[in-house]
Amino acid sequence: MKKYFVYRALICIVMLLSGRAVLAVDYTFSGYGTVGYAQSDQSYSYQRYINKSGTFMRDTVFGAQLDARFNPEWTATVQARLAPAQGSDNGWDAVVSWAFLSYRPANDLLIRAGKLRVPFYLNAENMDVGATYVVARLPNELYSVFPNMDFTGASFVKSWDFGDNELDLDGYWGQSNAPWRSYSRDTATPSWLSLKARAKGLLLSWHRQDDIFRVGVHSAELTRNDGLPFYINFTQVTTPGINGSYYTAPGPSGQTASATSPTWNLGADVGWGHGFRTLGEYVRRTIKGTAIGPDTESFYITLLKDAGDWTPYVTYAQIKSKNLAIYQAVNGARVASQGAPQSVIDVINATQRGTADYLTMYDQYSWAVGTSWAVNKSSKIKAEWMAVHTGVTSSFIDAPAGGGSGNQLINVFSLSYSFLF
């Protein structure tokens, strides 16, 4: 019920504003959608859905947006989205993704409050609107760093005009609920941890005609919605009757109620003439308070060539966890009996693998080659081939029982149609 308070408050404010200028309200109804098919050459799933059976679940999304402009200063926006469920691998979610009020008291200041999207990546706000960018799928190595980009809070944009150039300062603060997924290879089941993130951040963007240069700093305080603590680290133990050491959950002194994730990012979208552009982004996500959190470094670079209706491109993307040694230690821990019952040994060894799966760690890179074809000014057909290589492990893979997600090569073919109106 709590989240509906925001919507009710927004509706009340909108009604008050529309009472002031009811005759002047301009409504703009718009929508977008992508029907995307993806298939890999592997029987296990990549990014939840993609395997050799093919799927429409990874990339398909539909949305509709209503903008109500009361006067040049005040606007209300509501966006609804239908997409594969975030907290489950089955079914679809129809959610109100955005519901915010915008106040623009001057040319150079925009203030928004309500449920809105974190202005993080170059294509953060429009990441669901495939018709507004070229690539078939925004690189998951980087665009997955924030598991839920929609938060409830407030943001501002302050602009400075330098003739042909513009400098924007974006700031935001608020909170979101982020589903955090892990996959147990031995039981072949996903599990979801519901996290609450209280986030704030600042981004500085320099616009030079079509070019953008961006730098941002962010911080999120994370807590579990179930009230349980995070483990700070695992405890390595040895037990009489068992040969070898293994890892267990720590006691109360090794637990923490919250963790903080300071993150910073860089981005650039630069034209080189003759239709060539380069897009690149870098994100460094750190975790304070726990040694087993997703401490990662991600980047991608895309080179594209605008050749009229066709825009071919090539992308290299990479993500690597900084604490892979913990994963390797836990995943590799095996004990043998020195008198203890074999059933106990089996449980301990299985627990080590399950614990390793619980850690969301990444070590992978991918190459993608594709093209976008503009059917008209508001729709695109895109095709892409991507080769994914994993190193130690990758939590984007639902590893098969008895196997692992390390040292894999996955070829993914994607075909999609995106439109907007």
Partner: protein
């Protein structure tokens, strides 16, 4: 493929069509002062909502030849790029594109009756009572 023998005819048709088309004139409500082309560009791209303390409201024609000429002259953009620009701005939550009206008569009527309104017409359609802010 262009037939070289018909080139003089093509050039004649081009010249006549340009003469018929004329220039694009930006018009405004009586409370809007003279503007330069750069300011017009920022108004029609949503970067300015106030000019010298006056709230401005841009109004577009629906896609067509006159709108194409306006976009080319004042924004140095094609219809496709302008549409994509506004689609992206709309879906990042930074505003909706200008109101679109069907014909020049509606634009003139809207601009004359709406404080802060700015639109554009063909030069041939400028009547004495219309307030021209950029020619």
């Amino acid at each position: 493929m262009i037939n070289i023998k018909l080139l003089p005819a093509y050039l004649f048709i081009l010249a006549v069509s340009n003469a018929i088309a004329g220039g694009v004139v930006v018009i405004g409500h009586a409370d809007v002062g003279k503007l330069d082309a750069a300011t017009v560009q920022k108004i029609f791209t949503g970067k300015l909502i106030q000019v010298e303390g006056i709230e401005v409201t841009a109004v577009n024609l629906k896609p067509g030849p006159l709108r194409d000429r306006f976009l080319q002259t004042f924004l140095n953009q094609t219809e496709d790029k302008y549409t994509i620009y506004w689609a992206k701005r709309l879906f990042v939550g930074k505003g909706a594109p200008p109101l679109e009206l069907s014909n020049t008569a509606d634009v003139i009527k809207f601009v004359r009756s709406t404080p802060g309104a700015i639109g554009y017409v063909d030069e041939a359609d400028v009547l004495p009572e219309v307030h021209v802010i950029v020619r």
